[in-house]
């Protein structure tokens, strides 16, 4: 790995490593239990998306740029939207109404759990895209010394 970025302090890197999985797991937990407990797709999705801030704090803009594919995230956002509409439309094609509960009919769990997942996926991808956009306008964190070297070489 070419170490051309300004290293952040070891404390923030360790903290980032420690809390990153926690944030992701907790966010996914909130999404998956959205239909039965407080929270839901939106809140859980935002929690997962906030993991990008941990990556930024630990590894800087360089880390964010190398670990996320913005184009892929954008496509995932659209896929999640289509998923939501299709899940809702299945109700129509099973002969019932739009948005209707078609799996496990009559039980506690229903299509709202699937819709919650789609919303969570959508919000996760969308907020991550937004955060990447916002972080990319922050100042460049490349190492000053290497920058000078490059300029000298040029």
């Amino acid at each position: 790995m070419k170490k051309t970025y300004k290293k952040t302090s070891i404390i923030s890197r360790c903290a980032s490593d420690l809390f990153l999985p926690l944030a992701c797991v907790f966010g996914c937990y909130v999404v998956l239990h959205g239909s039965t407990s407080p929270g839901g797709g939106f809140q859980g999705g935002v929690l997962v998306a906030s993991a990008i801030l941990l990556v930024y704090l630990g590894y800087g803009g360089w880390g964010v740029k190398h670990s996320f594919n913005e184009h892929m995230l954008h496509s995932s956002e659209t896929v999640a939207e289509i998923m939501y509409v299709v899940i809702a439309l299945v109700g129509v094609f099973t002969g019932l109404n739009f948005c209707v509960n078609f799996v496990f009919a009559g039980q506690q769990v229903d299509t709202s759990i699937l819709m919650n997942d789609a919303v969570g996926y959508h919000v996760m991808a969308g907020i991550t895209c937004l955060l990447i956009m916002m972080l990319s306008v922050l100042e460049d964190d490349r190492d000053e010394t290497t920058k000078d070297k490059e300029e000298d070489a040029a």
């Binding site: 659209t78 939207e81 509409v85 129509v92 109404n97 739009f98």
Partner: protein, 657 residues
């Protein structure tokens, strides 16, 4: 009606949203697939809505669709519903036709822009949200759709962000449009706090008998909110700034479809939910002794409409940008619609609906011709353009049809609906004996005359007069752009020639649906629910037209006069619009322009269309200088006007209701 047709409204909305998402996913690389997806979505939604015409408009049924089958339990409608009666379907028809035309036009019109995937995604979402708004049976869903509509429209206004003022216009629209949306939200919150339901049908049953100042305040907030979406009087400067910079296909959407949402909201609010427009003739007669109190809502809505139509048409006189001028006329025509909606008679409401439909058709046509001129010449400046009738004869003919329609010349559709508007105002004046409605009638006539004058100015500035040498190489726009314009032009003529058929098939069902609050409630909540709240059952009013005219005879007259003019023009010489070369040195010396005899000939002088009515403008200079200061272009000022509108509406409603 077949059972599966109950799904058509929700499918028509969702297919547009689905089209938006799929276009965004697959359309980033391949333009053909993207256009195909958008086209399929538009056509599907058009077909789905058209197939509902027979059961709903002609047979008078009402579709109530509960999402997820959450039907009312114990007379409480908590689930989300779509309720499609003839009024909703009437507006849905306007929406899908306008979306189809605008979409097909933009395939060819936007061919020089990049990142079109964003354009089509936003465009489909805008279409879907507008359709959702008019089909919704739930007040909060209407708000959600208004928000989607406002934000996509803002983004599309700023789509050509290289234009001067594009971001500025979009920013103004965003800030002041959000003020309107917030006003709607406050109204909804107040209603929910009192009524504990947001279903339109249940509100319609409970609100009229519920005497509380909170719901009256909510009415004021909702009215201003929907009015801001129709760009009524204090909100009109936004429309001009947004239209001038938006692509022409989006101008069609904003003027033809978004303003109709505001109109639909006001009709639904005043006629169905609050039922505070006095539709009963006996009450109207009774209230002569105390006109201010009983019929306040009528005076309020009509007054706002009259002010809007008059101020906007005078503002249009001073415009030098083609689309800014059209924007002010657009709001002026919406003012007509609002004026007659406030009259509260069946004739007035059907005249308003007819004019709303016609406004979408002819204003869409005019915006598309403006877009064609812009596409061909790259300019919208009225002082710069001129003499394009030789270069773009097809567009010129289409423009003349649109201009004749909007100015109310027979036999086009503008005359048919304006004729009904004059009669509605006149009959109302006769019934109530109130001088106010006489003023309304005269103001409507004067506005129509001023509209005609203003369009003479545009025709002179853009299509006739001298050709600017800069545009000597202008070519006619492609066939793909002309076909959508011809569709609208044919609709202009057809609805103008057969107003009685339009009246019978579209307007009469929609009018009785708007006035039939009891039917609307019973369709959603079950038979007898309205009667339990003592909502009076619907008594159809006969629509009586006091004047008669023969559209076909007028068409024959028009054709014969046009033929005569053409023959005279053909007999004459063919140099009506010569391009004047920049350097006149080759031509032999003309004694008329001898330097030391009569002064030098100017290089290029256009007889500016804006100079045609200099006398009028001179006489009205004090008014215009006042309006000049008023339209400051500062977003703070416009927000202040919006806040002032809310305040005035609140004060008036609290005092008089």
């Amino acid at each position: 009606m077949y059972d599966f047709m109950y799904h058509f409204p929700v499918l028509a909305i969702m297919v547009l949203f689905l089209g938006a998402f799929i276009a965004s996913l697959v359309g980033r690389r391949n333009a053909v697939i993207r256009n195909a997806v958008v086209l399929i979505a538009m056509v599907t939604s058009l077909v789905l809505i058209l197939s509902l015409v027979k059961p709903i408009l002609l047979e008078g049924q009402t579709i109530t669709y509960w999402l997820s089958n959450w039907e009312p339990v114990g007379d409480w409608a908590i689930g989300i519903s779509l309720e499609v009666d003839a009024l909703s379907l009437f507006f849905a028809l306007i929406v899908v036709v306008a979306v189809f035309v605008s979409g097909v036009y933009s395939f060819f019109y936007m061919d020089r822009d990049d990142s079109l995937v964003n354009y089509y995604t936003l465009f489909s979402m805008l279409s879907g949200s507008v359709l959702g708004l008019v089909l919704s049976g739930d007040l909060f869903n209407m708000f959600v759709m208004i928000e989607i509509m406002t934000f996509t429209a803002v983004a599309l206004t700023a789509f050509r962000n290289t234009y001067e003022g594009a971001l500025e216009g979009a920013f103004k629209y965003l800030v002041v449009g959000s003020l309107g949306s917030t006003s709607v939200l406050i109204g909804i919150a107040l209603i929910y706090s009192q009524m504990h339901t947001l279903n339109l049908a249940q509100l319609a049953a409970m609100l009229p008998g519920y005497d509380s100042p909170v719901t009256i305040i909510a009415f004021a907030f909702l009215f201003v909110g929907f009015g801001s979406k129709a760009f009524l009087f204090p909100f009109h400067p936004l429309a001009a700034d947004a239209h001038a910079v938006a692509p022409a296909s989006i101008s069609l959407m904003i003027s033809g479809v978004l303003t109709k949402c505001g109109v639909y909201g006001i009709i639904r609010l005043a006629y169905t939910v609050y039922q505070n427009v006095d539709v009963n003739v006996m009450n109207a007669l009774k209230s002569v002794c105390n006109p201010m109190n009983a019929n306040f809502v009528q005076y309020f809505i009509t007054g706002v409409g009259v002010v809007t139509m008059f101020i906007c048409v005078t503002m249009a006189f001073n415009q030098h940008n083609f689309k800014r001028l059209l924007a002010f006329h657009s709001i002026s025509q919406v003012g007509y619609v609002i004026t007659v909606i406030g009259l509260g008679s069946a004739l007035g409401l059907s005249a308003g609906l007819f004019h709303a439909m016609n406004h979408t058709i002819f204003k869409g046509l005019l915006f598309l011709t403006a877009g064609a001129v812009q596409h061909a010449t790259g300019s919208l400046d009225l002082d710069e353009l001129g003499g394009l009738s030789k270069k773009m004869p097809g567009t010129c003919a289409l423009f003349l049809i649109g201009a004749a329609s909007i100015s109310g010349l027979p036999p086009f559709n503008g005359f048919a609906s304006k004729w009904m508007i004059y009669q509605a105002a006149f009959q109302k004046a006769g019934e109530t004996g109130n001088f106010f409605f006489v003023v309304v009638c005269v103001a409507a006539l004067i506005t129509s005359v001023l509209t005609l004058a203003s369009f003479i100015k545009v025709a002179q500035s853009v299509f006739f007069g001298q050709l600017n040498p800069k545009f000597a190489k202008t070519r006619e726009v492609s066939l793909g752009m002309r076909i959508p314009m011809w569709i609208l032009a044919i609709l202009c003529v057809v609805t103008g020639l057969f107003p009685d058929k339009v009246q019978q098939w579209l307007l009469a069902p929609a009018t009785s649906a708007a006035m039939n609050a009891a039917g609307y409630i019973d369709a959603a909540m079950g038979q007898g629910y309205a009667a339990s709240f003592s909502i009076p059952s619907f008594q159809p009013q006969s629509i009586f037209l006091s004047g008669a005219w023969q559209p076909v005879m007028w068409l024959l007259l028009l054709v014969s006069v046009t033929l005569a003019v053409c023959i005279v023009a053909l007999l004459g010489s063919d140099d009506k619009a010569p391009a004047i070369s920049e350097t006149n040195t080759d031509t032999p010396a003309d004694p008329k322009y001898e330097s030391f005899f009569s002064g030098e000939a100017s290089v290029y002088s256009q007889v500016g269309g804006s100079d045609l009515f200099w006398g009028f403008k001179h006489n009205w200079r004090h008014y215009f200088s006042f309006m000049h200061n008023w339209h400051s272009g500062v977003v703070n000022d416009y927000t202040l006007y919006g806040a002032a509108a809310i305040a005035v509406a609140l004060v008036l409603c609290v005092i008089f209701l």
